[in-house]
């Protein structure tokens, strides 16, 4: 009995992981009610854990869950006297169960609903992680450094807006697809960067978050294979993920990119990224994520082969800066400028932090500024910039690395 229970539990978990988003998307697409779909599916999973140990795991677990979830959803709808849910839904689900037919994949429509322009950009990534991946509000809050109560409130508000404002669950028309897709990609990228912050690998959830973001990026690339930016984002995340472990040495100290051991990179992941980037290039429509992926590719090629490709890198940064006008891009570009035209030119290429509060609290800006000032011979300026960078950093290993660099200024 205990074994059967454990088995039912593990099957339910596997199904949950693999099909959660698919089931939510299918359930919510008709009613527009994400929260309702989540509640119904949670009820269905609970019921599965009661029945499966007794009657055995059904052959088509997804269809079983869908049928029960629909019935639960219907019960709730009736209790609330909603009139827009009919028995027809239940019959359709029943048919899927009998024939063992595949449940149609509407996750892409769900992703577009979660990244709808009518929703606050800050809630889009958390919403995707919850609706498509089934992560709970408390864990999402931890990853995004928000309080669990506030995150939960934001998610509830977003879901009720989707339902009440009638945000559609469909793929956008071709003319608006590019812009809408960017919102989806930006949210996935945001989720990935939150997970990437945990370089030490001590925070299991953050590491998991990167994995979830890559899952979503692969999903979008698979479902929209003709969209070069979807492929570009997937490539970008894989390039980064391939180097995740190499950012720390055996003693847990920070290893900057130029000193990373190539053997500790994931070669298969880099190869996959190269293939995706190549396929994206065929479309001949350049974009932000393809450019960022191309930069990763160039940095990796330089490090592996030892050749100097800084002029190419600078050209890519120029294109990226022209496209995004992002101060973050300008900071990284300044490093490339310094490599090609010298440290003083690099300092001059740094963006101006006056009146830009975000840049003034952006650790890499101060670290790059310190590095360039040190190379240009301004020791005092460099030491002060390192001081600010250290104060802005959360990770003790990176703080120690910066402290060491600071101590070396002028030596």
């Amino acid at each position: 009995m205990a074994d059967e229970h454990a088995l039912a539990h593990s099957v339910a978990e596997t199904v949950a992981r693999r099909s959660y988003g698919k089931l939510i998307a299918y359930l919510a697409a008709r009613t527009g009610d994400v929260a309702g779909a989540e509640d119904a599916l949670a009820d269905a999973f609970a019921e599965a854990l009661v029945h499966w140990p007794v009657s055995g795991c059904p052959e088509n677990a997804e269809a079983w869950l869908l049928t029960v979830a629909r019935r639960k959803g219907l019960d709730r709808a009736r209790r609330r006297q909603y009139e827009d849910t009919t028995d027809e839904d239940l019959e359709q689900a029943g048919a899927a169960l009998k024939e063992g037919a595949e449940i149609p994949d509407r996750r892409l429509a769900l992703l577009f609903a979660c990244a709808h322009p009518a929703l606050n950009p800050a809630v889009r990534a958390p919403l995707m992680l919850q609706a498509v991946m089934g992560l709970d509000a408390a864990r999402i809050a931890t990853a995004f450094l928000a309080s669990p109560a506030a995150m939960s409130k934001r998610l509830v508000r977003a879901k009720s807006k989707i339902r009440e404002a009638g945000i559609p669950f469909r793929l956008p028309e071709r003319e608006e697809l590019g812009e809408r897709l960017n919102a989806v990609l930006a949210a996935i990228y945001a989720a990935y960067t939150e997970g990437w912050a945990d370089a030490a690998g001590t925070d299991a959830f953050r590491q998991e978050l990167s994995g979830e973001a890559i899952f979503l990026a692969r999903l979008v690339a698979e479902l929209l294979p003709e969209e070069p930016e979807a492929l570009g984002l997937c490539a970008l995340l894989l390039y980064a993920e391939a180097r995740r472990g190499a950012r720390r040495d055996a003693a847990g100290e920070f290893v900057p990119f130029e000193r990373q051991e190539v053997t500790r990179w994931d070669g298969a992941m880099i190869a996959e990224a190269e293939r995706l980037l190549g396929r994206a290039g065929v479309a001949g429509r350049m974009g932000r994520y393809q450019l960022e992926a191309a930069l990763q590719s160039a940095h990796i090629a330089r490090h592996r082969a030892g050749w100097n490709n800084w002029t190419d890198v600078l050209q890519l940064y120029d294109a990226l800066l022209a496209l995004t006008a992002s101060p973050v891009v300008a900071v990284n570009r300044a490093l490339a400028v310094a490599e090609v035209e010298g440290a003083a030119a690099g300092v001059a290429a740094l963006p101006n932090p006056e009146g830009d509060a975000r840049l003034r609290t952006y650790q890499p800006y101060w670290a790059v500024r310190a590095e360039l000032l040190a190379r240009a011979g301004d020791g005092n300026g460099a030491r002060h910039a390192y001081e600010v960078a250290i104060g802005l950093e959360r990770d003790p290993a990176i703080q120690r690395f910066l402290r060491e660099k600071q101590a070396q200024v002028g030596k």
Binding site: A150, T361, G391
Partner: protein, 120 residues
């Protein structure tokens, strides 16, 4: 809005540290303070003397009572604070996460009740 970051920690840990560790600890706080200043959000900050020097007072039935420390009500003691300006709780939390206090203790962040704000 203003937020008070209250730094709680185990006081005896500091005295158990080597001189070098203490210097590193102080340097982390110096860098953090510098970053807050540079961002223009620092409104005040102080480190408190150890809690065994604390005195508590309360009036009961019109009689003032004085209680001399140390008080053993919790292991982590308030050791200092930062008063910062931040547009919302998320921004205040992102500053709190960078505070060296979170590495060796607990930092509690609370919004300041603004003068003239309606109480409820």
């Amino acid at each position: 809005m203003q937020y008070l970051l209250m730094l709680y920690g185990d006081e005896s840990a500091w005295t158990r540290m080597t001189k070098e560790q203490q210097e590193q600890g102080a340097a982390a706080y110096f860098a953090y303070t510098e970053a807050l200043k540079q961002a223009g959000v620092l409104r005040g900050s102080n480190r408190l003397r150890p809690s065994q020097t604390a005195t508590r007072m309360r009036a009961e039935n019109g009689k003032t009572q004085v209680l001399d420390g140390p008080f053993a009500d919790s292991k982590e003691k308030l050791g200092g604070y930062y008063l910062i300006e931040a547009p919302d709780l998320d921004a205040a939390m992102s500053w709190t996460a960078r505070c060296p206090g979170v590495q060796h203790g607990t930092v509690e962040v609370r919004a300041i009740w603004q003068m003239g704000e309606a109480g409820y």
